[in-house]
Symmetry: C2
Subunit: 210 residues, 2 copies
């Protein structure tokens, strides 16, 4: 315990991952990981600021938070940094209209975004949506652009569900990169920009976070 005390000296805030840390997804929504509900509660009772930073891109922030609340977590939507809302900000800033290769569960995050006559592609963890037809459609959109722009919501290799390992968005990002000879812009962890935005939202410097 002394070691932890030393390590946390000067720390003002904690960024917590969600999938695989607080809960494992799966049938019926998934299950809380043992001890995590109480750990979040203890952190919130402490002097530390707490924020949740996830690459979850199958669900909207609202759906994710409702699921976690149902599993017993003390969490609200405003405490979560997620790649879909961050991507919407970038799309608006740069005037880009995306073709979306995303899970139906996260599509509502893009409701305010113009998707007509697309001039970029956004790929997220689409799960079963990663059909050959959907991949080929995204590929063709990119190949028809003079300057193909591909955003990937995270670049995870795989994640664990209660049923076993599942391919994440990263392998499909790599597939499109290779097919088109381009490099994707990753929105989400491990992009430093993404961590910084989470810290900004928490009001903590990088040197003060764990």
């Amino acid at each position: 315990m002394a070691a932890w005390g030393e390590r946390l000296a000067g720390v003002r805030g904690v960024l917590l991952d969600i999938s695989g840390v607080l809960y494992d997804g799966g049938e019926g929504g998934g299950a809380a990981i043992a001890g995590s509900v109480e750990a979040v509660a203890r952190l919130k009772r402490s002097r530390l600021k707490v924020r949740f930073c996830t690459n979850e891109s199958q669900k909207s922030r609202g759906d994710l938070v409702r699921l976690l609340q149902r599993l017993g977590f003390d969490i609200s939507e405003g405490e979560v940094t997620a790649p879909a809302p961050a991507t919407c900000l970038i799309l608006k800033e740069r005037g880009l209209r995306p073709h979306l290769l995303v899970h139906d569960g996260v599509r509502s995050e893009f409701d305010q975004i113009d998707t007509s006559n697309p001039n970029c592609v956004v790929v997220a963890d689409a799960g079963e949506g990663f059909s050959y037809q959907n991949m080929n459609k995204a590929f063709r959109v990119l190949m028809e652009l003079e300057n193909p722009v591909l955003f990937s919501l995270g670049k995870g290799r795989y994640y664990k569900e209660t049923s076993g390992l599942m391919l994440d968005v990263g392998p499909y990002m790599k597939a499109l990169e290779y097919a088109c000879g381009i490099e994707a812009e990753v929105v989400g962890k491990p992009s430093p920009e993404f961590f910084k935005s989470a810290l900004r939202e928490m009001g903590v410097d990088a040197s003060q976070a764990q």
Copy 2:
């Protein structure tokens, strides 16, 4: 014509690609590319040896040759070097039992191969077979192996069908490589071994081929 004569001086054999060179695939089997039927006929009337070297991995060699014959080409099964039969030789040599992520059209090439209790994965241009479920199955097989071995029948980025561009096996090979942190063994072009086997079958040295 003089330039061609000079370029062909010392050349004894010609390796011809098939997809995108002799014909474009598509609905109803596809269509011969203008002039290619006559070009093959002229080469066969010449003093040059002719062999066909393809990365086609959606069809068995027999089906491919029957299609080309129907389009008017003078071609027989014994004149074709293709990755599926080459892969079968490697699997037998190394005592490997593959999990097959391949198109139904090419599955018959593996009829003599033991696929029980797989200890490697073979990926080919599976087309619509590249569903999330099938990709995840291949991924899980690889992750359960102590030494994951992945064979890819070619590594093409995409090819042209009469309906437009189509993702080839390469992007899906890259996806599995990234997911598992491994490198695939490519059987097919541009692997030098594959070209050499085609030349051996033609009885011509690399220096004498075009």
